[in-house]
Amino acid sequence: MKITLLLPPGEYLKNLTGFLTGFKEDVYLFTELNQEAIEKLETTDILVSTPFFPLRRDILQRMKNLKFVQVASTGYDHLDVDYLKERGIIVANVPDANDESVAEYVIMVMLVFLKRFDYSLASTKAGKWVLGEIANTTYDLKDKIVGILGMGRKGKALAKRLINFECTIIYHDIIKLSEEDEIRFGASYVDLDKLFQYSDIISIHLPLNNSTKNLVNMDLLKKAKPNCFIINTSRGEIVNTNDIIEALDKGIIAGYATDVYAKEPPDPNDPLLKHPKVIATPHQAGVSKDATLRIAQKSFANILLFLQGGKPLNQI
């Protein structure tokens, strides 16, 4: 079997390559989607793919031998999964390898916002002592109300960690947790409007689909408290960027942190990147070195399972 890895340079590649060394199969590694890669893809049986390289239907159609796609991430909206399924191609992802990374990232961003860490760090390094100002304009996570929009694995991983910060946790999801799970995560179910109405901080953990696209728009934002801080680590299109910027400018909400963008990487002139009330990072929430190793381990194990005639885990 031919295995093609289409991965960004760095840890993904290093880890997966390490695992695949010594494989009897033909393994091809690419870090960009160039002509040579496309030619190899045409005859490949197994594809290892990440959202860094969106694959349009026309490219997938040229992959005549494709039998299994292992997505080395949680998100898979860079692939035309419906088309692959129509062809009977197995598609699997790694949904749980970076839950901890995302949860930790979100808590970090919450604290950066509440403590104005970016400002105090930059000021201190520039020789400006801003202690008095910081003391009067920063807050603790304790006693804040954190709203989790989307209580899947990442939402739960976040709640599990937040409970020790002594904040209040509320959540909204299309599925309400069992009473036992609500106690486990210390989270109370509320409807979407109330999530925005009550929360001091909102963290979005939704998949991108027709019902979540543009979900966070001005109608919802108007319900938020003026001190509300929203964090998006799921997908850029879930939040209406124009509405967010307007809400920030008008003081409807206090801040926005985004790790994801409708177009990645975003245009350098993207207004989100320029806005003083926005914390922006390069889709890093789930891709720590530790998480990448876990993703590589789980992707490798699934490929091995497929090669041995087994049923890959986490099929989409």
Partner: protein, 523 residues
């Protein structure tokens, strides 16, 4: 300013215009500060006659005057007159000089048991314990004298105290009494409420004693102002799930002051702002406070605008005169409680234990002597009018016999008791068993006196681990000895079964719950 000057400043404000007396040396430290342009000293050649003159003055002027007596001799010479004033129900303030405290150990000349001797012939006897209380005590004496039954109030003033420097005292309090419904008083209170921007309501035990919950709810729902329960509230009064209820005040001046920092009027309805730990902050200094109570002793305690009246009657009529405000409750409170309960689960924290008890409790009355756990109990359990009882005194050992009596009378109840409290009245289990009661005793066992440890932790941390703060006893085994069915649970997996057993089975039951013994931060 000297304490004697502060005394007279209050007297001037109270419109006292005459002092009757026959002074001796022990009265000179007070009288040196009198401004005779404002208050005239009317001398009598015998102490008792000054009391008699003051009584006659009142009959004509209807003003409360001051009588100035010379230590124990002055009292002795005035006994008959004081007793007459008491029986005649004539309000007056009787100042009695006392020797300098700094040498009272040597039993100096003119030092005597002034308080004890005057007590049977006056309505009340007051003596300040620090010089800054001198002007406040005059106000208190005035309020006691002015509430029915009227009478003389003795104020014993040591010589040295009057010469001490104190801070300027500007606060002022009033008291008015209504005998039955008084439209004037109701309108006066309504005017104060209507002219305030952000009033807050404090409710207390008298609401329940006078069966005024319905009137309170109508008043509060119309006014739309936040409601707090008095500190260490001993009754249910109204549901703690009511959207206007913010919570119960803590018995500390600094916290009460902070709570009402943004309120321009505090309306205390049949309650009391009881304090426990000392903080160097005056309670509600410079705040407008209106207090309604039927308890003249309560009415005299604070320097506020006090109306001695039946709170039910006033509330019934006040509602229609008050314009609504715009308080909006923090609706996320229940969610905050839930997260706290969930966080406490694994360590068997009281928040989780109460959260689970709340799932099984139905219509049981709650007798609470959980002491250090009481603040959490009041947040999690469904407290409402006439279903919650605690003593207002801080006594340990009260709730178990009280709940047993409640059950003997036919009530169904749950007694939630700390392991420390349990040992003060565990013998009641014999009676509970003997008389076939239906009490569920839940003993929250944190292996010691958590409230004492908490206080020690805040003020004297070196004794926090003293073994005399941690007496360990096994209430489950003790209960068995008295013939009571009992069980123990010590982890979250057993908790629900235990609570269900204790609350649903007939007959007296005792459930011992081993809770987290981490010292709570209550002070």
């Amino acid at each position: 300013m000297k304490a004697s000057e502060a005394f007279f400043n209050v007297a001037y404000d109270l419109n006292v215009n005459r002092i009757y007396g026959n002074p001796g040396t022990t009265e000179i430290p007070l009288l040196k500060s009198i401004d005779e342009k404002k208050i005239r000293y009317i001398l009598a050649l015998h102490d008792g006659l000054s009391v008699g003159m003051a009584e006659g003055d009142y009959f004509f002027s209807n003003r409360i005057q001051i009588v100035n007596l010379h230590t124990i001799h002055g009292i002795g010479n005035s006994i008959a007159f004081l007793f007459s004033a008491l029986k005649d129900k004539v309000p007056m303030i009787v100042t009695i000089g006392q020797q300098d405290r700094r040498h009272s150990f040597y039993d100096p000349l003119l030092y005597g048991p002034n308080s004890e001797v005057s007590k049977p012939v006056v309505k009340d006897v007051l003596t300040p314990s620090i010089s800054s209380d001198v002007p406040k005590m005059l106000l208190r004496a005035w309020k006691i004298a002015k509430t029915y039954p009227y009478g003389p109030v003795a104020l014993v003033l040591p010589m040295d105290m009057l010469d001490e420097e104190i801070e300027t005292f500007n606060s002022f309090g009033t008291v008015e009494m209504s005998f039955g419904y008084d439209d004037e008083i109701v309108k006066k209170i309504a005017d104060e409420i209507n002219s305030s921007n952000n009033p807050a309501i404090v409710v207390g035990h008298e609401i329940e004693i006078f069966d005024a919950t319905k009137e309170l709810l109508e008043f509060a729902e119309n006014l739309k102002a936040p409601i707090y329960k008095e500190p260490l509230c001993s009754r249910g009064i109204l549901s703690n799930k009511n959207p206007l209820i913010v919570g119960e005040l803590l018995p500390a001046s600094v916290i009460i002051n902070q709570t009402f920092a943004n309120n321009d009027l505090i309306l205390i309805l049949g309650g009391s702002l009881t304090l426990y730990p000392y903080f160097p902050f005056e309670l509600l200094k410079d705040k407008k406070v209106i207090e309604l109570t039927y308890d003249y002793h309560e009415a005299s305690k604070r320097i506020w605008q006090t109306y001695v009246c039946n709170v039910k009657e006033v509330l019934k009529n006040l509602t229609k005169f008050c314009k609504p405000k715009s308080f909006k409750k923090d609706e996320a409170k229940e969610m905050q409680l839930f997260t706290r309960a969930a966080a406490a689960k694994n360590r068997m924290g009281i928040e989780y234990v109460f959260y689970r008890i709340s799932k099984y409790i139905t219509n049981e009355a709650i007798f609470d002597e959980s002491i250090s756990a009481t603040p959490a109990l009041k947040e999690y359990l469904p407290i409402k009018a006439k279903n919650y009882y605690a003593t207002r005194t801080g006594q340990l050992g009260w709730a178990m016999p009280a709940s047993t009596g409640y059950s003997i009378a036919g009530g169904k109840c749950l007694a939630i008791i700390g392991d420390g409290s349990f040992n003060y009245s565990s013998q009641i289990l014999w009676s509970a068993s003997k008389y076939d009661t239906n009490v569920s005793f839940i003993i929250l066992d944190n292996r010691g006196y958590a409230i004492l440890k908490s206080y020690a932790l805040a003020r004297y941390p070196q004794i926090t681990e003293a073994d005399w703060l941690s007496p360990e006893t096994n209430s489950e085994e003790i209960a068995k000895g008295y013939g009571i069915d009992s069980k123990s649970v010590s982890n979250p997996d057993e908790l629900d079964n235990g609570i269900s057993w204790a609350l649903t089975q007939k007959g007296p039951k005792l459930l011992r719950i081993e809770i987290d013994k981490t010292i709570p931060r209550l002070f």
